[in-house]
């Protein structure tokens, strides 16, 4: 594992944000919408939590701010992008969860995966 494993496990909201940005650069509101979509509408990040975590992720260098494109309503917004380091961390967390889920399947808490 090449990511900083000491950061794991990630907070749920942090992981959702990293996942949202793994799908492409987004501005703040875009992250909120994406997280909502990822979680089937169960998680709607509040602006406070979102920007507190964004500030922390920027400080840690897991995401970076990029110049926004001019969007439809002609407003200049700040976009965020996953850095390679952030991607490594998110992957490490996903692998950790994958291992956990594998155990859950073994214990028959979840149905076994169909063999392809």
């Amino acid at each position: 594992m090449n990511a900083d494993t000491r950061s794991l496990p990630l907070g749920a909201s942090t992981f959702y944000i990293l996942l949202a940005l793994a799908g492409g650069d987004r501005h703040g509101y875009g992250v909120i919408k994406e997280v909502e979509a990822q979680t089937g509408g169960t998680v709607k990040l509040g602006p406070g939590t979102l920007y507190r975590l964004i500030k922390q992720l920027l400080t840690d260098g897991w995401i970076a701010e990029i110049d926004g494109e001019v969007s439809g309503d002609d407003e200049r917004r700040r976009y965020y992008r996953l850095t390679p380091r952030g991607r490594d961390i998110a992957r490490a967390e996903a692998e950790r969860l994958d291992a956990v889920v594998a155990v859950a399947r073994e214990r028959r808490l979840l149905p076994a995966l169909a063999t392809v």
């Binding site: 703040g28 509040g46 602006p47 406070g48 979102l50 507190r52 500030k55 700040r78």
Partner: protein, 877 residues
């Protein structure tokens, strides 16, 4: 989008730390607007409101997390920064620890002794009654008490009268003496106390003729009966009588001692509600009264009702000229009122020390901030707000105060442990004082106060510096004037507080000297008292037997080397024993039942010589005044003044009501001498007293008074001699009379000592403060002095310049301090004896002391100013 919702979110946003809001505020507002509009579109207005509440709550959580993160950042920054200046940190922490520790210790005492509720159920409903005789507090007789108890039912739900007595317990190991209480049956009911074991007596059990019962303390139960529950129902031999043990009082029960806290009591014996027809008649005034008021009454409504009742009673007994009245006060005031005044004064003193310490620390912080100008200027230049700098400096002060508080709590623990071990016996509940959770909470409050009091001025002063000027002149300390003014104000107020405190201490010292310097009418040196030599009625009930034993004891003790003289007395000065008697003067008729009363003391022939008392007329007792010779008496000055106004006392015949078993009626006694008052207290005036020859009235519990040869200490031999004559007597308590005198003023001594210590600390802090400010000023003005000296100013002019500035501060501080002291010492006036709160001598000498101290503190740095080398000073030009 409803504007009201945006306003709500905006309010939450305003609580977020400024830097976070600057960075992300617009984005958050924007995202909120979109999300809210979307919720409204999908779920309607209710959805939008719910979303807004959720988002605002989320923002508040965010704000708290951000502040906490900032605090911890500042906290660790402060730790790093303070570690770099260990001597500064140590001085500040030690100063604060001393002041905070003193506050924590005094608060702990105040809390346990004064503020804590009395250890009885519903203590607000408990009151103490005092009988007043011609305006002076005296005691109730049982019939007096019964009148009030019976007719005061609308006022009092329950009440009890009790007196303090001494018991001798025999038949259970070594005979021993202890303090006990004789009370009417409802004492425990009135106080709302349940027995730990067994029961308390019912009213029927205490009538005359019923078997005598006793309740003992938990301590006695453990020490003498090994905490054995089966001891209930056992018979105890107390003073030769048999009592049935019916109950054990709980361990945490404290017997009230009206007027002065709590009494040690090991046993409670019981009296009938009404003493009429017993030896406890109207003439025997020895009882204190405690009562539980009816619910819903207050002292304000009780006072007139009680006065009316007392007047009704007075009409029932016309011709009574003693003008009885009854004073009522809350039991809390009665028990802890004196201690409250004392500890509140002490609390004010430690408060003053805290202010002085904070001023000193503020000063040190200002100097430290001045040397860090560059650091702050750089931080402001790179975008830190002034608010951030202020917050960071306050956190730094908080770290210092917290360390001081932690150390201070440690000091308070030590001080309280010492206090509990050595406290004067007449401070109520002193043994219960601990540094508990409340004390720690209080200390945290003090820490917060110190943070603001010491930290605000330096923090704001540092943050207000002009960046450009500071950066330009950084490293040479240019713009120091604003800081200088703050420093001067701090030092002046420090001097003012110190002066007020030292004046207070000075007044208390003067008062103490006046109190203990009073003539007492006797010479205490070389006199030893042997107390608690109680010859019980069971074996010494026959007067001749007791008299023979008393004579044998005198002969035996007199033969001990080192004993010069010895005499019996019932109550030597400053011992706790005393008895009184009613009396009549032959040729001066008084209605039966309303005779005047006086203290009474049967004493041996040598008693007055041993004490070096002054005979004002007539003669002292001699060996010929014994059973079988004419009955005589000696009275004191106050007796003559009170009862024999305008008569020649010698030859007057009086009839004290106390009599020997053999006497059918109390005998006539002729006054053969008048003695100057022998005082038994520094604080109370002498009472009227009748002395009788001990051999003409050999009664119980007695004291031997011994004059010793200088350089010898026969006390152990005396105690052994007494026991050798009768092995069933408990070991007597031998105490030197000077020791009794100093024990009686131990509380005053403690408060004088503590106040002086606090005044000394404040003075030391102020001297340090003046020294620091003048030193700093001299350092700042090194260049100026160099120039002046280069231009021809001589050393004396430089010294005068520096001292002049310092003295101006000192005089301003002294002037303010005199005003503060003038107002503040009024609070002390109740504590002062024969000393005016505005005593000119104290004010003048303390003013002089403070000014001299300021002068000395300024002189050292002033002399350093003259050693400035003009070449070095000008090199920076």
């Amino acid at each position: 989008m409803q504007p009201a919702l945006a306003v709500l979110f905006g309010i939450a946003l305003a609580l977020v730390p400024a830097n976070f809001r600057r960075e992300y505020g617009a984005a958050m507002r924007d995202d909120f607007a979109r999300a809210c509009a979307e919720e409204r579109a999908v779920h309607g207005t209710v959805g939008a409101v719910i979303y807004t509440l959720g988002a605002s709550g989320d923002l508040l959580t965010t704000a708290m997390r951000e502040y906490a993160a900032m605090f911890f950042r500042d906290f660790s920054y402060a730790l790093r920064s303070l570690r770099k200046t260990p001597s500064f940190t140590a001085v500040v922490v030690a100063t604060l620890a001393l002041a905070i520790g003193a506050n924590a210790a005094v608060f702990s005492v105040l809390h346990a002794v004064v503020l804590a509720p009395l250890p009885y159920s519903d203590p607000d409903r408990l009151v103490a009654l005092d009988a007043l005789d011609r305006g002076k507090p005296t005691n109730f007789s049982l019939p007096d008490y019964a009148d009030i108890a019976r007719r005061g039912g609308s006022m009092f739900a329950s009440s009890a009268a009790f007196e303090y007595i001494t018991h001798t317990l025999t038949g259970r190991g070594e005979p021993r003496n202890f303090q006990g209480i004789a009370t009417t049956p409802r004492l425990f009911d009135t106080l709302g106390v349940r027995p730990e074991l067994g029961r308390f007596p019912s009213a029927g059990e205490t009538v005359r003729g019923a078997a005598k019962t006793v309740v003992i303390s938990d301590a006695l139960w453990r020490s003498t009966f090994g905490a054995d529950p089966s001891v209930l129902g056992a018979n105890l031999r107390l003073d030769g009588d048999t009592y049935r043990l019916i109950g054990v009082a709980p361990a945490d029960f404290h017997q009230p001692r009206l007027g002065q806290g709590f009494a040690v009591a090991e046993a409670w014996t019981f009296l009938p509600e009404n003493g009429a027809g017993t030896e406890f008649d109207r003439g025997y005034r020895a009882f204190k009264v405690v009562a539980r008021t009816q619910p819903g009454t207050s002292l304000a409504t009780l006072r007139p009702a009680l006065d009316a009742l007392v007047q009704t009673l007075a009409r029932r007994y016309p011709g009574d000229d003693t003008a009885h009245s009854v004073r009522i006060e809350s039991l809390t005031d009665s028990l802890v009122g004196n201690a409250r005044a004392l500890f509140l004064a002490m609390f004010a003193a430690v408060g003053a020390v805290l202010l002085v310490a904070c001023a000193n620390v503020a000063n040190l912080l200002l100097s430290r901030a001045a040397s860090r100008e560059r650091e702050f200027s750089v931080r402001i230049a790179v975008g830190a707000s002034r608010g951030r700098i202020i917050a960071q400096l306050l956190v730094e002060t908080f770290v210092l105060a917290l360390a001081g508080g932690a150390l201070g709590i440690g000091l308070a623990y030590g001080a309280i442990a010492a206090f509990v071990a050595f406290h004067p016996s007449n401070i109520p509940r002193a043994e219960l004082v601990t540094v508990d959770g409340t004390s720690i909470l209080y200390t945290l409050g003090v820490v917060a106060f110190c943070t603001l009091a010491a930290g605000l001025t330096p923090a704001f002063a540092s943050a207000q510096r002009d960046v450009a000027v500071a950066l330009k002149s950084a490293g040479r300390g240019g713009d120091a004037h604003r800081g200088a003014r703050a420093r001067n104000i701090l030092v002046a107020s420090e001097i003012a507080m110190t002066l007020a405190l030292v004046v207070g201490a000075g007044l208390v010292v003067r008062s103490f000297i006046a109190l203990t310097g009073q003539p007492l009418g006797f010479e205490a040196n070389l006199v030893t008292t042997v107390g608690g030599v109680d010859l019980p009625d069971s074996r010494y009930g026959v007067d001749a037997v007791r008299e023979a034993m008393m004579t044998r004891t005198i002969e035996k003790v007199r033969s001990i080397p080192g004993v010069e003289r010895v005499a019996w007395a019932f109550s030597a000065p400053f011992t706790r024993y005393n008895i009184g008697t009613t009396f009549t003067i032959v040729g001066h008729a008084v209605r039966p039942g309303f005779e005047p009363s006086s203290a009474m003391d049967p004493v041996g022939p040598e008693y007055f010589r041993i004490l070096h008392a002054t005979m004002l007329g007539g003669r002292a007792f001699s060996d010929d005044d014994r059973l079988g010779t004419p009955r005589v008496a000696i009275v004191n000055e106050t007796f003559v003044r009170t009862y024999l106004q305008g008569r020649t006392p010698l030859g007057v015949q009086i009839i004290p009501s106390i009599a020997l078993a053999a006497d059918k009626t109390p005998p006539l006694r002729t006054i053969v001498g008048v003695v100057a008052d022998l005082r038994s207290s520094f604080t109370k005036p002498a009472a009227a007293e009748i002395y009788l020859p001990a051999r003409q009235l050999p009664i119980g519990s007695s004291t031997l008074v011994v004059a010793t040869v200088p350089g010898t200490d026969p006390s152990a031999a005396v105690a052994a001699a007494v026991v050798s004559l009768d092995p069933l007597l408990p070991k007597p308590q031998v105490v030197a009379l000077p020791e009794l005198l100093s024990q009686s003023v131990a509380v005053q001594q403690l408060s004088v000592g503590a106040l002086c210590a606090l005044a000394f600390v404040a003075l030391a802090l102020s001297i340090a403060g003046i020294f620091a400010v003048v030193s700093y000023g001299v350092t700042q003005r090194t260049h100026e002095f160099g120039v002046r000296m280069a231009l021809g100013a001589d050393a004396r002019q430089i010294v005068r310049m520096v001292l002049g500035g310092a003295m101006r501060l000192a005089f301003i501080g002294v002037a303010i301090g005199l005003l503060v002291a003038g107002a503040g010492t009024r609070l002390l006036s109740d504590q002062l004896f024969d000393t005016q709160p505005l005593d000119p001598l104290t004010f003048a000498s303390v003013t002089g002391l403070v000014i001299v101290a300021a002068l000395v503190a300024a002189l050292i740095p002033a002399r350093r100013a003259t050693r400035v080398d003009p070449i070095v000073a000008l090199r920076y030009e």
